[in-house]
């Protein structure tokens, strides 16, 4: 990512402001619409789940400019998700849902450069989450 792209991700995220819970709600709608089979993986009550998602996303967006800090978040997050049964193939769906939720919430200001920056940011987060997932010992 370029420094400009990181800045773009952060500024657009700031713009969500009080609409962050709406974005979280939309994210899960988009996600389960794309793949209903993912729903049973989320065992926490949905209200709590959305709050957690919003908190985690905030932490990650703040850590974006500093890779080592970002990795501490994403590695542990990836390991946890692997424990829930999220597979590598699901990350594509998660990314699509996130971009759709951001677009719906931010409206016109979610322009092409912003979308591209978020796509790259998500790719980085997903790859490092999967790295964290892979660090768990495999069962046999």
């Amino acid at each position: 990512m370029t420094p400009q792209q990181i800045a773009l991700v952060q500024s657009s995220f700031e713009r969500l402001g009080p609409r962050l819970p709406d974005m979280a709600t939309r994210f899960y709608q988009e996600l389960f619409a794309r793949d209903p089979a993912l729903r049973p993986l989320f065992t926490t009550p949905m209200d709590q789940q959305k709050v957690r998602f919003a908190e985690k996303l905030t932490e990650i967006v703040r850590a974006m400019p500093r890779l080592d800090e970002l990795l501490t978040h994403t590695h542990s997050l990836g390991a946890r998700h692997a424990g829930y049964g999220v597979r590598a193939a699901d990350y594509q769906t998660l990314g699509d849902a996130l971009l759709a939720a951001l677009a719906a919430t931010l409206g016109d200001s979610f322009d092409t450069p912003t979308r591209e920056a978020w796509a790259l940011a998500y790719n980085l987060v997903a790859e490092t989450m999967l790295e964290g997932a892979a660090a768990r010992p495999i069962s046999s």
Binding site: M1, T2, Q4, L120, N123, L124, A135, I138
Partner: protein, 887 residues
């Protein structure tokens, strides 16, 4: 902030490969799979992914190993997989032979014991580079569940049998790697550099690499080292242009070319002899050199195993290409001496030591070479056998080496050299056992290679004079019978076989090879099929042995026996299955015989175009592998098929090619079908009849009963001459319904008995011999017509035409008769039909005929169709003949 960078070179991030890693994890844990195969172009990260799989497995508590082929390891069988031979190379047998099956099994047990039954996850990088014996061992261990194989295959390179076999059995999963997407490249750079990159630099990396992961790695590490890529205020910038080469190898060369002398020495040693002990390298390389190489991403240090390797196979390739030959030789020999001093023979290192000596052009221990040759022989890799044994100095070549080399030369079609080596081997001191094998191989070479059966019999007789202990003496008798069978003396062969008790398995195998074709051709087809089946079972139980035919030859014999028994469909099915097996195992002689037998069955089925195709294939294979005798057989079949298709010129051409081969007695009388049929196609019926009679007489004198029946029946069908009495005797002497059907047909033709002729057609049709059935039906129509039974005539004619439709354009006198019967006895052509038929026979297209006669094309075609039906023909070539006969 830049904590990432130092880590980077040692553990370059892996990006965009998580789905593939998940596949690995799944198949490893499923227990149903024997491995994973990773396909991809150069630089897509196959090696990296395979190593990542290995680390994942290690983390899960699996033992792991890594093997890789190279030019050096390819020199000696199993050289590439020396690391797996934890049980050592095993003890050679009393005559120096290596039992490969026992070695594989011994290795399996040793691995099983060492890892307490856990599967050893084994990365085999670039399997196309592995020698045949290594592939065979990996396949064995994978199939037995001793290892879990992670193999990489470069797209576009030939895929080894190991992979195709496991794949066919559904035992391996496959993943395909591609270059990275732009987004993945971006993530990779971010992780490798530890922070964001300036937009222009990111674009330049994309344009230079197009997402090829290895290219990215080399470019980034090179740019970091050269100072072209620098970090300012937490952002990476390109201060200099990236190297412009688009060749990965150039890039690696540039990187390695810049190394200081001491580092270069380490890299060269690794390129030639990796892996090298970490402890040893620590003592010879100045402090810091290894670390700097590791930082630069050129070597990987596995501390747990105490081993150092180059980071990527490409590095080794580039370095090896650049080392002067003399320098490489010095390094290899020094390393061989060092390892030999550290681990006196026999040790698992013996293979590697021999490899380095070989690569250095030095003289490895002849025992190691011969042992290697045994292993290569097990994998049917005769080129390697030849190369290894020829590396043994002449004075050191013993009888075992002579046997291995002689057999390899025979298999490679170098028959004169094989004769020299085997004759010399027989003069070297050896046991009776070994002398027997030398003699048998030499006789085989004389018969099949040099086409001199009388020399083969002389070699056999000489051996029988000196080898008198049992069961060896008996095996020689079986071998004498084999020479007789395959030189055209089935009757004598069977008489010789009477002298054998058959208590020894090996003798029984040789006996079966000689007996099955002899029994079949003398008309004892049920016994022949049983003998071939038993021979195959015995041969498989016997395992691989020197100087004995391939087990598939029993299947070839069984196909022949089934054909003589008139079980054509079964014969065809077995031949096709066999052909598939030997094609993948590359056993040329069996490939030739399967193809020729498919052609032979097709001839009897009346599928003459199919026959032509398979005989041509057999002839081509025989030519390529320099088997003159089998080539002669195939060319005879090819001429026969051409002639039955009415192509006299092509038939004559095949015969002319055949005339350049030495005589070959096996199925000698049958070969003469080709001459007789070529005479028929050339409209020389009298000559054809003479040839049929002469060949039949030869068949009778040598005991070829089924062949005699074929020849006499063909005489009957093509000339109208009578041979019914002899055919009846043959039917009584043989247990084959095909021979009986021929006798019935001949008797019915002689008696002009329409119902019996129709019955013969039934018999042929039931056997699947459609051309013979069509001809018998035509004969029935003729007889009905003469008896004045119009309705029965038309029905028999219709049946004949229908049967002939399955005969792929066969043009035989018997079919031709159907047309004349039609013309003479059935419905005459109308004036218009005749007019149109004549024009069509003259070669005019329907459109042209329509124009000329002011008719529509449809009308022309209708008339033509009526003419076809009335004349009992199905195409224009036959139309011309039919019109010729009634004009």
């Amino acid at each position: 902030m830049l904590a990432g960078v130092a880590v980077t070179a040692q553990r370059w991030p892996i990006v965009g490969r998580r789905l593939e890693l998940e596949v690995f994890e799944r198949v490893l844990c499923s227990g149903e799979h024997a491995g994973l195969v990773i396909y991809g172009r150069a630089g897509t990260g196959k090696t990296r992914l395979a190593d990542e799989c290995r680390q994942q497995a290690a983390k899960g508590g699996h033992p792991t190993e890594r093997v890789a082929g190279s030019r050096t390891t390819a020199l000696l069988p199993l050289g590439a997989v020396a690391a797996l031979l934890v049980g050592g190379l095993g003890r050679p047998g009393p005559e120096g032979q290596v039992d490969a099956v026992a070695l594989f099994e011994h290795t399996r047990r040793a691995l099983h014991d060492r890892y307490h039954g856990r599967r050893l996850v084994t990365v085999a990088d670039d399997v196309a580079q592995l020698d045949a014996a290594s592939l065979a061992l990996l396949e064995y261990l994978a199939a037995q569940g001793t290892i879990f194989l992670v193999a990489t295959v470069r797209t576009g390179e030939p895929v080894p049998d190991l992979v195709t076999t496991l794949w066919r059995d559904g035992r391996v999963e496959r993943v395909d790697l591609h270059d990275l997407s732009r987004a993945h490249l971006d993530t990779l750079l971010h992780l490798a550099l530890g922070g964001p990159i300036e937009a222009g630099a990111g674009r330049e990396f994309w344009e230079a690499t197009r997402g090829n992961p290895l290219f990215v790695r080399e470019l980034v590490l090179g740019a970091l080292e050269s100072g072209a890529l620098v970090e300012r205020s937490g952002v990476w910038h390109l201060e200099d242009r990236l190297p412009t080469t688009s060749r990965l190898a150039d890039l690696v060369e540039q990187r390695i070319g810049g190394l200081p002398g001491q580092a270069r020495s380490v890299v060269e040693l690794l390129a030639l002899c990796e892996p090298v002990d970490l402890d040893y390298l620590d003592t010879v390389a100045p402090a810091g050199v290894l670390e700097s190489l590791e930082r630069a991403g050129l070597v990987t240090i596995a501390v747990a195993e105490g081993e150092v390797r180059l980071a990527h196979p490409l590095h080794g390739k580039v370095v090896r290409a650049a080392i002067p030959r003399l320098r490489a030789r010095t390094i290899l020999l020094a390393e061989a001496d060092r390892l030999e001093a550290a681990a006196p023979a026999p040790s698992p290192a013996a293979l590697r030591i021999a490899l380095w000596r070989l690569d250095a052009g030095g003289r490895p221990d002849p025992a190691v070479l011969v042992r290697g040759a045994h292993l290569a022989r097990y994998a049917h890799d005769f080129r390697t056998v030849r190369r290894l044994v020829e590396a043994v100095p002449g004075q050191d070549l013993d009888a075992v080496g002579a046997l291995l080399l002689g057999e390899a030369l025979y298999e490679l079609g170098v028959f004169d050299a094989a004769e020299r080596v085997l004759a010399r081997g027989l003069q070297l001191p050896s046991s009776q056992h070994l002398a027997l094998r030398l003699a048998v191989t030499r006789a085989k070479n004389a018969q099949w290679g040099l086409c001199r059966p009388e020399a083969a019999l002389a070699i056999n007789a000489a051996a029988r004079a000196v080898i008198t202990s049992q069961p060896l003496a008996e095996e020689l008798v079986a071998d004498e019978a084999s020479v007789l069978t395959f030189s055209g003396h089935p009757g004598r062969a069977l008489a010789v076989l009477e002298r054998i008790t058959g208590s020894d398995r090996r003798t029984r195998v040789v006996q079966a090879i000689a007996a099955a074709p002899a029994l079949a051709v003398t008309g004892r087809t049920a016994q022949a099929v049983a003998a071939a089946e038993a021979g195959y079972t015995d041969h498989v139980a016997l395992g691989e042995e020197l100087a004995i035919a391939h087990p598939a030859m029993h299947l070839v014999n069984q196909v022949f026996a089934l054909t003589e028994a008139g079980r054509l469909a079964e014969a065809e099915q077995l031949a096709r299955a066999g052909a598939e097996i030997v094609a993948s195992q590359r056993v040329p002689i069996a490939q030739i015989f399967f193809a020729a037998n498919i052609g032979r069955v097709a001839t009897l089925q009346g599928r003459v175009a199919t026959a032509r195709r398979y005989y041509a294939e057999a002839a081509g294979l025989a030519e390529a592998n320099r088997f003159a005798g089998p080539r002669r057989l195939a060319l005879s079949g090819l001429a026969l098929a051409h002639a039955m298709l009415g192509d006299a010129q092509a038939a004559a051409q095949a015969l002319a090619e055949r005339a350049t081969m030495p005589a070959f007695g096996f199925r000698g009388p049958e070969q003469q079908l080709a001459d007789a049929w070529t005479a028929i196609a050339s409209r020389q019926p009298a000559e054809a009849a003479d040839r049929f009679r002469a060949a039949a007489a030869q068949a009778a004198s040598t005991g070829h009963r089924t062949t005699e029946s074929w020849l006499l029946h063909d005489l009957v069908r093509t000339s109208g001459q009578d041979a019914s009495a002899r055919l009846r005797d043959l039917a009584t002497a043989c247990d084959s319904p095909l021979v009986s059907a021929r006798a019935r047909h001949a008797a019915a033709a002689r008696a002009r008995d329409p119902l019996e002729l129709a019955g013969a057609a039934d018999d042929f049709q039931a056997l699947g011999a459609m051309l013979l059935a069509a001809e018998a039906a035509a004969g029935a129509a003729d007889a009905f017509s003469q008896a004045g039974d119009r309705r029965a005539t038309t029905a028999a004619l219709r049946r004949s035409v229908e049967l002939a439709a399955a005969c792929e354009g066969a043009v035989t006198p018997g079919l031709f008769r159907a047309a004349t019967v039609h013309a003479a006895a059935a419905v005459p052509l109308s004036g218009r039909e005749r007019e149109i038929a004549m024009l069509a026979a003259a070669g005019l297209a329907s459109k042209d005929i329509a124009e000329r006669l002011y008719l529509s094309v449809r009308t022309v075609n209708n008339h033509l169709q009526h003419a076809y039906t009335k004349l009992g023909v199905s195409d224009r070539a036959a139309l011309a003949q039919a019109l010729g006969s009634i004009a």
